[in-house]
Symmetry: C2
Subunit: 559 residues, 2 copies
């Protein structure tokens, strides 16, 4: 009977999830384990620190369905926790593998480095359990395989992070290769088909009775599992489709049915009107958090909403035990086969948000730049936008077809976008779909995790980074502390830093303050098709913000 090490079993399982690249930072408790990464057919990508590693694994998982991170006991794993929290909050499946001291060392009674010095080894797993849907620390090779499968299956089921602690001795204990024969449970269990059928016929009935159905594409419930059905649904139903902040990127915005961004008060008035007067809203992955809803200013009649969630579909008052990823494809077929729905005339679409008025001066404004980006972007671009004004502003940018877009609108950890951009790009490269990376970030956020940039270069990913340089934490200023020093951020020379972190990449930095210079830059084919990293650091007034953001804060005293 052929055998292999437990650690290799673990990495083979990870490969089974579709993961090709693992992120992390080495440490002596995990080094031997890392020797098993390549034999299992995976690639290792070392990250400059663990937080960047966690963000990268998250971006990768959003793009590819699941991600993995390896860190070392104590300092390593704790440095990653903010990233794991984000994955929990936004339903991103990541397996966090932590290298533990050997069983013998744990039992020695000696004070080991990376411990708290109190001879206890369960502090950190307890901490991670607050952020994970399942955890295990492998102590016994005899149960290791079952434990790994239990935890990975929970990750797939809940679409949340999990934690696996493993020491060198357990990693090298031998188990039968036949443990791989039984597969992980790769999709959600099929529900009660009668319930699904009833849900679908109720939805069809509601659509038939409706005069103004719309679709809202949101970000909840692990977007990647149902996103592939969004464009087919729109094409079948031919009704206006809107995105929330979290949902942006999951629908083809070059579609004639695309109506713009919806988020209560932070949307354009014509969008608000169309959505809030609709008698039937198909809401995919609804996630009613503050930033995602214009601070709870959505005024939608609950009886008009069909709420599609990971484990339930709610039609008005009735909740069905049915799953979005199972129901959507069937619903599309049902629509296609329903002449009364498909033969309806296309309703006049919401007009695009009006072009922001030409600014009086040649200075760059937020509204101008977000609109301007629409024509700079190319089909297939990968966009990642950061918490801060960028996350709101990008709602005014229309994505070209085949573009992806990710943002972390509930967890909202600044620095995330730069790290996630690395992982998302690597993931996109693996699927053969990668073209350009466009990173949209404030300078305060970029400074958090700027070292991630070095990784982009290592992987031959050529980014265009837009740095919204407004002399500080502008979105915070809108909340409070208009002129407070705690909202100031020092000025850096990003071009210099980028080329310092990627000495042979030919990285270029542009410092732009005028609209016409930005126009010239974005029109330049050399810039558009560059084979070297570029960072466009452009000046914005300290108090400028995208109109949607201003709307949210309207009435709040500033200054």
């Amino acid at each position: 009977m052929s055998e292999f090490p437990v650690g290799e079993f673990l990495f083979k399982r990870i490969q089974e999830l579709g993961i090709e690249t693992i992120f992390g930072v080495p440490g002596d408790y995990e080094l031997a384990l890392l020797d098993l990464v390549e034999p299992a057919g995976l690639k290792w990508t070392g990250t400059p620190n663990e937080l960047v590693g966690a963000y990268a694994a998250d971006g990768y998982a959003r793009q590819k369905g699941a991600g993995a991170l390896v860190t070392t006991f104590g300092p390593g794993e704790l440095s990653a926790l903010c990233g794991i929290g984000g994955a929990n909050c936004e339903s991103v499946p990541i397996v966090h593998i932590v290298g533990y001291p050997t069983e013998a060392a744990q039992k020695s009674g000696n004070i080991l480095h990376h411990t708290l010095g109190d001879l206890k080894y369960d502090h950190y797993v307890k901490m991670s359990s607050e952020l994970s849907c399942a955890t295990t620390v492998l102590h016994d090779p005899a149960t290791a395989v079952a434990e790994i499968d239990r935890v990975l299956n929970a990750m797939i089921y809940h679409s949340k992070p999990v934690y696996i602690g493993i020491s060198e001795d357990v990693a090298y204990a031998k188990v039968s290769v036949s443990t791989l024969d039984k597969k992980l449970v790769h999709s959600l269990p099929v529900g009660d088909l009668a319930v699904e059928t009833r849900a679908i016929s109720d939805i069809i009935a509601k659509l038939e009775a409706s005069n103004g159905a719309v679709i809202i594409v949101d970000g909840g419930a692990n977007r990647s599992s149902w996103a592939p059905f969004v464009d087919p649904l729109v094409d079948a139903l031919k009704v206006p489709v809107f995105v929330t902040c979290l949902g942006k990127g999951a629908v083809d915005e070059s579609s004639p049915y695309f109506g713009g961004a919806y988020g209560g008060i932070d949307s354009w008035p014509n969008v608000v009107k169309m959505v809030e007067s609709s008698d039937c809203i198909l809401w995919l992955g609804r996630l009613p958090s503050d930033f995602n809803t214009g601070a709870f200013t959505e005024h939608v009649n609950p009886s008009t909403v069909i709420d599609f969630q990971r484990f339930s579909i709610e039609i008005g008052e009735t909740k069905f035990d049915a799953k979005i990823s199972h129901v959507l494809p069937k619903l599309i077929e049902a629509i296609k086969g329903n002449a009364s729905l498909t033969s309806r005339p296309t309703r006049p679409l919401v007009s695009q948000p009006p072009l922001p008025r030409k600014p009086a001066s040649d200075l760059i404004t937020q509204d101008w730049v977000w609109e301007r980006l629409s024509s700079f972007l190319k089909p297939g671009d990968l966009l990642v936008s950061e918490t801060g004004t960028a996350q709101f502003g990008v709602l005014g940018t229309r994505l070209p077809s085949g573009a992806s877009h990710w943002t972390q609108a509930v967890w909202g950890s600044i620095g995330y976008a730069t790290g996630a951009a690395v992982g998302a790009s690597i993931g996109a490269k693996e699927t053969g779909k990668f073209k350009r990376l466009v990173l949209l970030t404030g300078e305060g956020s970029l400074q958090m995790t700027i070292q991630a940039f070095s990784l982009l270069n290592r992987h031959g990913i050529v980014p265009i980074v837009f740095v919204l340089n407004n002399a500080g934490y502008t979105v915070e200023r809108y909340f409070h502390g208009w002129g407070a020093i705690y909202n100031d951020v020092p000025d850096w020379d990003y071009g210099k830093i980028f080329s310092g972190m990627a000495p042979n990449s030919g990285a270029r930095g542009y410092k732009i303050t005028k609209r016409h210079d930005m126009d010239a830059l974005l029109d330049d084919p050399e810039v558009q098709n560059a084979t070297y990293p570029q960072v466009i650091d452009f000046a914005l007034a300290k108090d400028d913000a995208p109109t949607p953001l201003k709307l949210v804060f309207k009435g709040k005293k500033q200054g």
Copy 2:
């Protein structure tokens, strides 16, 4: 009756601890609270990210006795946890203040940003409680003052981190100014004087009976509380004094009694002999962890050891309920008054470690550089050395008088040194003792938290950074994975990055590969007295290490 806000009470208490500067990153849940920092007489220092903030607070606390960090609920606080873990492990008192959503928002049933989306608000405090000696989340202004005092008193007593969660509404609730009349309990309670007296007379008796007493200065038990008594003890007793890795910096190494570093096998043979044949070892703050003891290779007869701890003194088999910070000053007086001890001839001192043989080539080796540093350093320099080869190597550098040195030898989180250097420098500046900052770090570690450098510049601290550039995680290679890609680190241009992060500082980078160039650089008065930041990036062979480290790994297969 005069009143003021709870938040101001909190910051006034922090000021009472001797803290003048607070570190952190703003977030909307904490912005209003931050408005109370200055009215309380404190200075705010925003850090580029929360981990750097935690490390800075730790470095500051080591220098000044206590430190404070403010972060925002969720992403902010979780990003700091690795730094809090380090403070717990190495007994550094830090108060971690976290800005919470208001009580009303918590009770609203709405999904708030920075939560996990499950409407629970106790996940993060539970996580921090694993790393803190006391935690509180203030919900009620009526008990807030008592809670704050309870937690801060625990911090002082245990010399460990604590956690205070506070929302804007509680921060602005009014309490009487007279709450400040009662003070915190600033020192450890006086113990049983009879026990102390007995301990001291037992120690004196043991010293009188001894022929070869030595002192070992270690790092446990919160060094800053007893460090001021170390030099007086050495001067009184006139016996050889050694430092461990953790203790380095707590004794005047220009003293004629200084004998070098002790850590089992990772010390020079003459040191091992002198310590391990001693019949009476006064061991201050002993902390027998792996990295601090040459991987448990200290062979000391327990009956010869007098072990001074925070809450106990152990003489051979007898444990006294007495505290190092109370006993040391009295012991010094007792020694001074004891003619039989003070009249003893000074024993011949351990000779200094032999000068490493002149390297055959002009390449820089670790042993050469650590020895070379001894003559570069100046009285009053502040050194911070990083986990990795630097932490071991610096044991071979002799510090000038009045120098400080900090390293994190048990927790061992790489990236710490760069962040802690900021806080320690700011702390040293406040005490009026700051001269130069010398940061000793590997390139892998520097890349973790390089943004901290920007802060140094903001505070007018002019560092000299030595980057041990050995193409990767060399200390990890000694553990495992001699040529493995996971131990590789990309090459950066640190001079460029530093000047990018401090555009107007005149920062200079030097890339050095030859011994004679390093000599010329270190001999240059311009370099020695520079008023601009400098980074000396010097090449070392991938497999070179300080002799002490090689000794630890001797016998372990490499490659």
